[in-house]
Amino acid sequence: MTTYRLRKGGSTWRRYVDRIMTGLILLAVAIAVIPLILIVGDVAYQGIPAINLGFLTSLPTPPGTPGGGIANAIVGSALMVGLATLIAVPIGVGAGIYFSEWPESRLSLVSSFTNDVLAEFPTITLGIFVYIIIVAPTRTFSALAGAAALAIVMVPIIARTTEESLKIVPVSLREASMALGIPRWKTVLKVVISTGRAGLATGILLSVARAAGETAPLILTALYSNYIPKSLLQPTGSIPYLIYYYGSSPFTDWITTAWGAALLLVAFMLVLNLSVKLLIGRKFAGVRAEI
């Protein structure tokens, strides 16, 4: 029997290289996971002392005055994210249906591509845009402007997940419906969408999670207020802005408040992401990666 020797000094050397590279790959995995542990750990460690019932229900106090809360930011965030969801869901779901039902059309190619580009766009430029079209004409920073900016952040996420989750609805279901003489629009609304609804819900939840953490566009649109908003046309506080504003201040009690708000926000993200996991299992692992 002939034995073949490969170049590079035969199998010992090659195995050696293989081991080293495996080690480096494992090292990369460790380095990638460490920041997550540090961040979540630090937020929990610094944030827990700040959290109590009053923290959630009372308004902020001036530096040095104990007992302040972040109720203004909680209400403001909920208001703006809720309003943004109302604006973004019809547009995002509509576009997603178009992408999945008419994938070959020219509009679908162009719009779907634009959607991908928009999903990765610096959100601060969206803030400038909304400043120009809403804040400048109305002469005030407002929850309305903040919600518009957040809606632009949400649409691409909803559109993409809607498209992906409708595409995997089996063709046989669609054919069965059509064979019964049900028109296409009814098939889409009643059969395709109701089969893919877990995916739709996922997209909406993910976009809510993303919008709730957005800070940059709100700085140019909603700004901040220490009070509960009374109308949609006045400056409105939000949790991420509060974290930025209080965290960059020189006052230790404000910084503690920022950590408490950060813990609240991270907990909200974790809950939403875990419920997405439970809602859909592993089916959509690939879908999420694209966002």
């Binding site: 766009f121 430029t125 400038i128 120009i132 940059a216 992401n273």
Partner: protein
């Protein structure tokens, strides 16, 4: 009978037309949004565009009081920190992606746990990275990482200045942490899309795991991974809050990574609401326009590369 079927067909097609035009409106809305966004930025930076022309891009002085506006320090800061982020983040992301697609392929539990952790890293909001960066990373860099770099390698211009913590290097590190999830997730999908026959052919020649990855998988996925990298670059360029909180916010074009800096995004955060004249406001919008153009070019390029790899013939350019 004929009448009946005709009318029902008409009703059917009317419903179809209504649905199609409704959802098409949404799809058109997305395209229109990007176009209007670009047009508004150009419109509102008109004053600054005509006043400064191309000098805006090359000017090194930013002095709102005397209405002297040059964007170069901010462009420099954005490109330098993003470049650093890629330099640090790309090898790590590739390692994790290779682990997920090649090593953990048959260990689904481990792979999906790690995948979930990386996804969580992507879900953490930017401002949280900023807060953590300010109170954890900045002191660590200032006290433990940067002094040795400065004292042992201070003869290199890139480590030439006294460590302060809030600088280009720290911003680059935090950006690297933030782009790892993006680059990892896209690269993993690209590697998963490499046909198994590529691997099997190489294994059948007696290759080791690494040789298969290096010679059969990575070359096949090259353009897609390049796309993932550019996508990470786009994310780094547009990243705002975390960078603003750790970079020091002082405009400078210094070769030293240990010096304070400023980026396009952090300039907008700090000064957009403070403008005192229409020329100043217009200059701020032009900063946004530069960012818009940069992000558009980067994302367009990246998407073309990634789409070609993962969606195949659907979108050929």
């Amino acid at each position: 009978m004929a009448n009946l079927s005709k009318s029902s067909r008409r009703a059917r097609s009317r419903g179809d037309v209504v649905l199609r035009s409704l959802v098409a409106t949404a799809a058109i809305g997305i395209v229109a949004l990007l176009l209007v966004l670009g047009a508004e930025l150009v419109n509102n930076s008109g004053l600054s565009l005509t006043t400064y022309g191309l000098g805006f891009l090359t000017g090194t002085v930013w002095d709102p009081v005397h209405l002297v506006f040059g964007a170069l320090p901010f462009i420099y800061g954005t490109l330098l920190t993003s470049g650093l982020a890629l330099l640090i983040g790309l090898p790590i992301s590739l390692g994790v992606a290779i682990f997920l697609s090649e090593k953990a392929r048959n260990r689904r539990g481990m792979g999906s746990l790690l995948g979930a952790l990386v996804e969580l890293l992507a879900a953490v909001p930017s401002v949280i990275y900023g807060l953590w960066g300010l109170f954890f990373l900045v002191p660590v860099m200032k006290n433990y990482v940067e002094p040795p770099l400065h004292s042992y390698m201070g003869f290199l211009p890139i480590f030439g200045t006294t460590p302060i913590g809030t600088d280009f290097l720290t911003a680059g590190v935090i950006l690297a942490i933030m782009i790892i999830p993006t680059v990892t997730a896209v690269s993993r999908d690209i590697l998963n899309a490499v046909p198994n026959s590529q691997r099997e052919a190489m294994y059948s020649l007696g290759a080791t795991d690494w040789e298969v990855t290096r010679k059969a998988v990575l070359p096949y996925a090259r353009s897609g991974i390049f796309g993932a990298t550019i996508l990470g670059l786009g994310r780094a360029v547009g990243e705002t809050m975390a960078v603003t909180m750790v970079i020091g916010n002082a405009p400078s074009i210094s070769a030293s990574l240990l010096s304070e800096g400023y980026t396009l995004t952090s300039l907008i955060v700090n000064q957009f609401n403070e403008t005192t004249s229409s020329l100043y406001a217009s200059a701020m919008v032009e900063i946004g326009l530069i960012l818009f153009a940069l992000a558009l070019a980067i994302n367009f390029f990246a998407r073309v590369l990634v789409w070609r790899m993962t969606r195949g013939a659907r979108f050929r350019i």
